[in-house]
Subunit: 274 residues, 2 copies
């Protein structure tokens, strides 16, 4: 295993570049920190270009096991002096491992869909933390896929990976324009609902047991006009308080779990049909 | 209106101290930034000691109206040079106003409770952002009160106020020890449920139409032993994915809205009783 001992090392410099989204986009590479997301990446067949190991860092048993497996698979392992390794990390927490990973294409065409899916569409969402939080909940609630429409952040942003606990690496997902997403949903016969505070229909009145998609916008910008047209029924969460909006990841969670509730209980409990 | 023109001004220095929770605790004062939370504080009868106004900052109509009202109520208004004012703020956004506010007592005894309440108990939660997010959702979902048990952050932390969109200033709430909270819930005949990933009962199986409380712990520390005893039934959200935990504000949101759904639909749709 070679060792990086200088801040002048080109590999170190490249990692530092990959802290910025424009370089990630240009180089079609991104970074994964920590054991758990790295394992998810390996299991989900991401192409790992190289993995950096922090010199002298006490590795957890899970980290050691992972390293052995990476080595078996022929992934280059590079040791890095601790002070230099720390400067490679974006997050606060050092688990001793950092990977440079090839950004895979995440297109609608190649996105696997389970039968009777619920698809979450995040339109124009800008905060990686929010995107990550939605992935984390989507994964837990059994959502079939998450689509970023017109994203204002990159899918494999380190903060997204972190906030998703790695779910963004494990779930079916895609990036596309709103028009492409709308066409896709139509072609796949998914009933499409837009989450909007001014909708007349409450989210509990929808039959979520059918194949469906829910479109969620950013808090700052709302939804693009395409999702506000008449062919997309709106749904809203009741809001009884003084505050007039909910965080997008909260709105998403409540709808995802209502869909799951209906699906688990056969859908006989939809308010609109009872 | 007097004007602060120096970083040596003792009022400036006090505001800077109030950025730290230990000084907020000692002085029993806290800070409110922005127009909306400030209005909520006024409407909810917080005692405003003084309000700083950023010199030359273009105030919104809502801000100007608020200032007039504060002036009518005799709240001292102090102008501050822009460069100094900026250093008084904790948040990124400058709306031109900052208030020093007396920390009110928030005890269980004085906490108003609506009839048939749902009470949210946050036990040992450490991140102000999470506490604020729970308040924001609780307000929207019609939760009766939010109680912090053994908090690891102060109730009126600026980040909590910000993340709650001010709801922490408007909602019934209290701070107490877990034992005090448990006694209180018993005295008030609230059925108490602990959110835990290892519970056998799903959250949809609970009858949330009765007066109830749900206790949520921190992601890092889990719940205190008091809430893991047999007299507190556990409830869990189904988790179908690779990720094995949910953010506390997401868990809270899903339970709050399930309770609201049951309450709005008369409770006939509880899974366990159908």
């Amino acid at each position: 295993m070679s060792t990086i001992t200088s801040f002048q090392n080109p590999r170190f410099k490249r990692v530092r570049k990959l802290h910025e989204s424009r370089h990630r986009r240009k180089l079609r590479l991104f970074l994964i920190e920590g054991v758990r997301p790295l394992r998810l990446a390996m299991e989900n067949r991401f192409r790992l270009e190289e993995v950096f190991v922090c010199q002298g860092h006490p590795l957890s048993p899970a980290a050691r096991e992972l390293l052995l497996e990476l080595d078996r698979r022929g992934v280059p392992l590079v040791e890095v002096r601790r002070g230099i390794f720390r400067k490679m990390l974006i997050g606060q927490r050092n688990e001793g491992l950092l990977a440079v990973v090839h950004t895979p294409k995440r297109s609608l065409e190649s996105m696997p869909l389970p039968p009777r899916p619920l698809v979450a569409v995040l339109q124009g969402v800008e905060k990686p933390g929010n995107v990550g939080a939605v992935f984390r909940t989507a994964d837990a609630a059994g959502v079939g896929a998450v689509v970023l429409a017109d994203p204002r952040t990159d899918l494999f942003n380190p903060h997204t990976i972190h906030a998703s606990l790695g779910a963004v690496l494990a779930m079916p997902c895609a990036v596309a324009t709103s028009q492409e997403v709308k066409d896709y949903l139509q072609q796949h016969h998914l009933a499409c609902y837009a989450a909007r505070v001014d909708a007349s229909q409450e989210y509990t009145q929808v039959d979520w047991t059918a194949p469906a998609a829910v479109v969620l916008g950013s808090e700052a910008h709302g939804l693009a006009p395409l999702w506000l047209q008449e062919d997309v029924p709106g749904v809203r969460l009741p809001m009884l308080g003084r505050v007039d909006s909910l965080n997008v990841s909260v709105t998403a969670a409540v709808i995802f779990y209502e869909a799951l509730r209906q699906r688990q209980h056969g859908g006989e409990q939809v308010a609109g049909s009872s």
